[in-house]
Amino acid sequence: MSAADECGGVAFCGLRLAHPIINASGTFDAIAARRAFGDELLRRIPFAAFVTKTVTLAARPGNPPPRLWELPGGLLNSIGLPNKGLPGFLERDLPELRELPLPLIVNVMGSSLREFVLLVEALAGREEVAALELNVSCPNVKTGLDIGAVPRALNSLVARVRPLSDKPLIVKLTPNTTDVAATARAAEEAGADAVSLINTLRGMALSPGSTEPWLGGVTGGVSGPAIRAVALAQVYAVRAAITLPIIGMGGVQSGQHALDLRRAGANLVAVGSESFRDPAAASRIAAEVGSLRVSTQEIPQTATFSTR
């Protein structure tokens, strides 16, 4: 699309992307979106690469509802990583996802080292898969936090799965940590090809008029504009610590926000919650980044979606 032309292509871990805007894992389901918006979605998908929702070894139902709470400047979710599990993903989702005209990044999470190994092994040989993202940072699932927050544990994990695949390995860092630069260094030293951040911040809401937590999962993750300043600080700190490419995300709503993250050190920028407000948001953001970069007044044509 025109945004891509104006931005020029972007190289990322050996992949050639049309522009620097991708989706954040778990915030866009291309298969469901294709059902809602039709095949038009394939032509107008607003991202330069597609990241799947987290895939785990066994299927997960996700957390009991309610799963959402709206915040000043964002939202709190406790989705709980519902997914079909690895076999379901390979059999049912992957054939559909390969039809996207985009590099596919599969996000995986294990509840143990062994699970991570099985996940990476199973995906290593799939040519439909352009890169892997390790979710070691989901605040809703205990294991993610533990591995991702302890540099030594993270180093062991990444070092263990690194040799299992030639594909670019992206480590999604947890933001709920004292020193995100230390975890980024651990990932780099263990052979990761890139890091992505930030995942959601741990948050909570109470049911109106009660002492009961609102969310079925008790605590949840804060995303959206409310975390933008935190994302910027963490990307900046990580950029100062490592030389790997960075995928920056957290509260991006405009080309200006994406550019700020790039200035702070991100190579690619992922759009998450803003896609909920507008499925074509990433397309607008990519166009804005393009026009900010070439400093032209003219906003290129962006994609909009209509259902059929």
Partner: protein, 249 residues
Amino acid sequence: MTAREQFGAYTVLRAHDPLGPQPAAGQFYMLSAPERWGGGEGERPFLARAFSVLRAPGGSHELHFLLEVVGPGTRRLCELGPGDQLNLLGPLGSGFRPPREGRAPLLVGGGVGIAPLAIWQDQLGPSIPVLVGFRDHAHARGAAVLSEPVLATDDGSAGHHGPVTELLIGELERAAQIEVYACGPPAMLEAVRALCADAAVPAQLALEAPMACGYGACFGCVAPTRSGYVRLCVDGPVLDAAELEAVIR
């Protein structure tokens, strides 16, 4: 926005959607106002809000919605007037399916849940019976959007004094001939589900859940069914009652 009308406690918003497809009964749209709605500055309402189509008069490219003000999003939307922009995404979700062979539709609504019944009645015909329950007189005025509704109110201020499900019980005598289409608060839907299940009457229920996206992206809008959680925005909002153990919350 082309018009705003008041029906007692409810507001009808009419919007012009020249390029959009014709929605089916039971489908919904995500609505938001272009200003004072998140929009880069982060205030609440931040996410768009889901609303059933009340009516989509064929050929008019008009969409009608029925709103009850319950919080910041509905309040903001009900401030919009003719000429104001309204952001809409849709039609979304799957609507009502035609009744099974040999069965006549019976519509049952509670409160603002009457909205999808109006467009369904538009399609099925104005003589299709519709039972509706409201809190009180001010809310019962919303029934004016339907054709020949049979009324019940909790406070007896209009129609039958009691829940709408008491009207339904009478109709269940024709169990073999009817299929129920219901929309309303969870407690009402659960009562409808249980009554229909007991009477072996098939029912299609239009459910609700808080929605962040409306198009399957967030997995936030799930309802528990016999086959696990389903996303109401893409696998619903209309579900077959037989798929549900119970309507919760």
